[in-house]
Assembly symmetry: D2
Amino acid sequence: MKAYAMVLEEYNKPLVKREFDVVDPPRGEMLVKILAAGVCGSDVHMWKGNDPRLNLPMILGHEGVGQVVELSEPWVDVNGEAIKEGDVVIWDRGVTCGKCYYCAVKREPALCENRWTYGISTTCKEMPYLRGCYSQYVYLAPGTKVIKIKDKVDPAVLVSASCSGATTAHAFDMLSPDIGDSVLVQGPGPIGLFAVAFAKARGARKVIVIGGTKERLDMCRVFGADVVLDRYSTTQEERRQLILDITSGRGVDVAVEAVGHPLAVQEGIKLVRNGGTYLSVGFGDPNGTVTIDCYYDIVRKNLRYQGVWVSDTKHLNMAVNMVLSNIEKFELLVTDRYDLEDANKALSAMENRETIKSVLIP
Amino acid sequence: MKAYAMVLEEYNKPLVKREFDVVDPPRGEMLVKILAAGVCGSDVHMWKGNDPRLNLPMILGHEGVGQVVELSEPWVDVNGEAIKEGDVVIWDRGVTCGKCYYCAVKREPALCENRWTYGISTTCKEMPYLRGCYSQYVYLAPGTKVIKIKDKVDPAVLVSASCSGATTAHAFDMLSPDIGDSVLVQGPGPIGLFAVAFAKARGARKVIVIGGTKERLDMCRVFGADVVLDRYSTTQEERRQLILDITSGRGVDVAVEAVGHPLAVQEGIKLVRNGGTYLSVGFGDPNGTVTIDCYYDIVRKNLRYQGVWVSDTKHLNMAVNMVLSNIEKFELLVTDRYDLEDANKALSAMENRETIKSVLIP
Amino acid sequence: MKAYAMVLEEYNKPLVKREFDVVDPPRGEMLVKILAAGVCGSDVHMWKGNDPRLNLPMILGHEGVGQVVELSEPWVDVNGEAIKEGDVVIWDRGVTCGKCYYCAVKREPALCENRWTYGISTTCKEMPYLRGCYSQYVYLAPGTKVIKIKDKVDPAVLVSASCSGATTAHAFDMLSPDIGDSVLVQGPGPIGLFAVAFAKARGARKVIVIGGTKERLDMCRVFGADVVLDRYSTTQEERRQLILDITSGRGVDVAVEAVGHPLAVQEGIKLVRNGGTYLSVGFGDPNGTVTIDCYYDIVRKNLRYQGVWVSDTKHLNMAVNMVLSNIEKFELLVTDRYDLEDANKALSAMENRETIKSVLIP
Amino acid sequence: MKAYAMVLEEYNKPLVKREFDVVDPPRGEMLVKILAAGVCGSDVHMWKGNDPRLNLPMILGHEGVGQVVELSEPWVDVNGEAIKEGDVVIWDRGVTCGKCYYCAVKREPALCENRWTYGISTTCKEMPYLRGCYSQYVYLAPGTKVIKIKDKVDPAVLVSASCSGATTAHAFDMLSPDIGDSVLVQGPGPIGLFAVAFAKARGARKVIVIGGTKERLDMCRVFGADVVLDRYSTTQEERRQLILDITSGRGVDVAVEAVGHPLAVQEGIKLVRNGGTYLSVGFGDPNGTVTIDCYYDIVRKNLRYQGVWVSDTKHLNMAVNMVLSNIEKFELLVTDRYDLEDANKALSAMENRETIKSVLIP
């Protein structure tokens, strides 16, 4: 059998459609037919050559939902369900070693020193070649954590759980709002929308979103946001005042940064109450510095300024459950669908911010 | 090369000395020369045929410290240190799958559904045979988590970290006393002594031990116990009164059960303050029931009655650090050393409670 | 001004309508007109003389929502909002000292050694007499924690947050389900219904309820229960099998006991997965014992068996936010409304289990 | 009876010795004879007029240990012990309201919006005048949380628990090291020395201190530091390399900033491992800004940068237990004792950094 994939051969050049042999899965592996592959903002960064982890040529795509074609040996998913051919599955995009300090002693596998990621740290020069999701098929290596999806669900909708959903889950796993809390979300992209969903799912009472696009802010309302603030039609001081009004003058209990720009951090940490938490999730790449007043911004405020990096299987499981429980909302998130062959169009649209979430359908 | 091990071939019969071929370690494995093997209370239960997990013939011994003889491929320990031939190592006695609900979603690998244990769930019928520590050599399988020991330390002293130390660490990982807390430890055996050490290491102010043997209670004092109560020379009511006196009438903040008998539970939960925690660690085997008054013992008290089962690598690491930081105290714990060939004597001594901790030296 | 209240003068006898002088609030106090008073299951126990905390004659009623009539001095609510005459308020039924071990060192004010409760530990022999909610007015003492209600809401619906809501919140504050978890609720009364609501509000995926009344089980579905099991039309073994099927053979992650009977505990702890938590909330009074197998039920399972006793202001705040966010559902909870003068009818209906939640309207 | 106190009447001028009437304690208050008053670094800031909370004239001194002279009514300490005349006591320097969002909902009384502090936010213009510890007597107001000291202990040694000890305890209450962790402490003053003590008391394996004074670094060794680094005889790069060597190339698990200078923050956050925590405790006053790279310093590192502000009674209790358990070490901390009348000398010595901890003895 043959299959094609969209291959990144040279930075800043269009991905090239290449054909590969589809062989029997190597020992311990699983062959999966891709049903939907997510286009992530960081795919654009990789395409542009801004991510030092890459080894060309490679198949992009770290977000995937697929159907099991062939198992080399019996496989049980993370819930204890036996996986059979024909099952729909999603998987942790990162594969971890289980034996390093982070995995074994600190139980923070997202930080595993040996973690590798489908569609990021893989090359298609090596057997079995297909290790990215911009492809008709992918091979899942033995250490991959898989979740079998028993619900009938559109794979294109579920795929967002893979990366932005799981990473946002990581943030809320580190610091959950209490029931009744106020939560600020900065940036209404996929991470921000997941943040609204998680904040409401944990019982937050007032969820406020700051963003710059009306369509996205409207979508935040559908996801449960109580107040949305357009950063073009409000000043920073107006936003501050409004948030103080909502929070009896204190500031929010928790803020989630989903922008990836230092100006957001600079504004956001001042909107958190004393003793509150600022979760910075939006930086997938270096994007500058922020100036912090050690006394006023951090110590006197008793602030927790918390960075959030990638995710692990616990977080993927949270995100999958979130999507499956709110499927009608997350359908809205998928604004664009492309044939796999049109991956270059999808990347351009992402680069030009013409889409919230694009999905490739092989 | 040949090596011998002490093999359990028939329950309730003496272990038999058998010779095995020592081959090159299979792919991904490590061959380790045993320097010290601990004799655990549960070894006696296994010998007696009371543990349903066994598959005879098998080599007992789940506690071991050894020296690396040969590596089939490069191996890095859980701290990120490269392991070389000649290094002294200790390892997590349980090998977990990394992919099940407990490992991947709940991050509680001690509960892994596929966990297997050296010297418990292994048989010597299968290659590479040597999977227990009552042996001159052991093969460590690829998924084993290893800690390299850089300190000069008597292996016989360190070996106690493997099982009783790690399991006690699990209890204190679930619920750590606060600095200043009062802690009750029931039962001054290896788990109880580790519990005293952990309680003091976490800053407990008053550590009280109830036990029945003067030598053991004296050792508890060396480990830092502030008050020891002989259960033969005090009544239950006297002990209760004394503990209330020490704790301003409230009862202890935390109690650790390291006895394995329902009568200890029955006494102990009444000695915990409202809102406190009762950590039950001592039951390695079924040993009867306890009658709990739902209102008075649990709900009105706001009690946490917490079972503690085995341990994972985080806990082993805690226990290893505990022993290495208090090596002079833990030397006292090792009351008896036997030649490996005298394993049957060691088991009998353990059965007759003539020892606190016995260690086999191959 | 005069006001009347329903007074418990003799156990097992009807409450008596008595008139009291309404004076200016003493220093630091607030005079509140009762808008709705909840009838709690424990009111029946008190009426029957089964609660040792009482001091007759007294005005029952620890659940209340009211309107501020007069403030002796400025008062700010727990959110920092100034309270004015005419405001609608709810308050923590327990008043705590702030200075004991539980309040100041352990931050568990629900366990405060000096906690007293409106309508439970108060007598109407002492000034200012009106300290229970089966009354037209109540005086709130200086240490009372008050929440001002800015939403337009039916006071009869909100009143359930006071006791059953806050106590259930306490349980979920101790142990929150993770997003995606399975939760079992035993007993579909007010605590059970709040438990369903909290479980869903924290992101539980599968919420299963066991109960004995069709109407209550149907209401559980409205509150979000995914599976309801009638204990009259299913056997214990059938329920166990069904719950194992739903949870991939493991049992639920969290169970909440809201029955108050040992048989529920006996069944429930066996339905929790290894490493899971059993939250026992339902015992307001002594009601018998349970037999626990130390090894199988607790230690080998790594179970947390956690008692939950009353609540504090954090929990009241959680419950108030829960009701305000789900007001249509909680309207269903209030099955019966009585004039304050008919308090004896309401108590009888509660005793005969003819109601889920009854509320008195002065 | 008359008593004198050292009064701050004008900023930057010597404190003035003034005499006051000692009256019977007002209702709910306790009259305490000061046995020892600590001189805190922030006293110098107040003296210099750099703290906006002050209201002159006032008696400095927020750290005190004293002996009870007269009680206006019965008083029970936080452990439940009745306080009698003649008892030695220490108390939480901050008095909180118990009813605000921070006290009642978030259980973070250190952040209480109505918190006032002895010797900081008090004036001696108002009855009963004596509310600071640079005095022969102090009146403790009703809401003050008191700990009775039953051990025989030098009051001058215990006094350090009041402020630097309790504040450091707050840091370790927020984030406790695990047993075996590595901890970096920047700055070997009173907070830094307490940090070393707390890190060791929680089981940290490697405690590294960076400082600039040999005497202080030597004292850190006595307190348990494993490695001390003189910042004058090492470069920043040398320190980084050494810390990476100690921590298998990862960086420390936890760092505690006890310097109060942005350069320390800039250096310190780069020395923490991925997923680690940076606790900033040392800023008692505004002292500049730090430039943070959002991606490299925070997000990619998954860092927790946590500010720590003042303390509550839980923390005071931790600190008191810490001092009482390590009394010989903390004796070394008290490098200078002055007569109360020589308070100005003590402030000058503190200003000129000629002392670690000075104590005034009335």
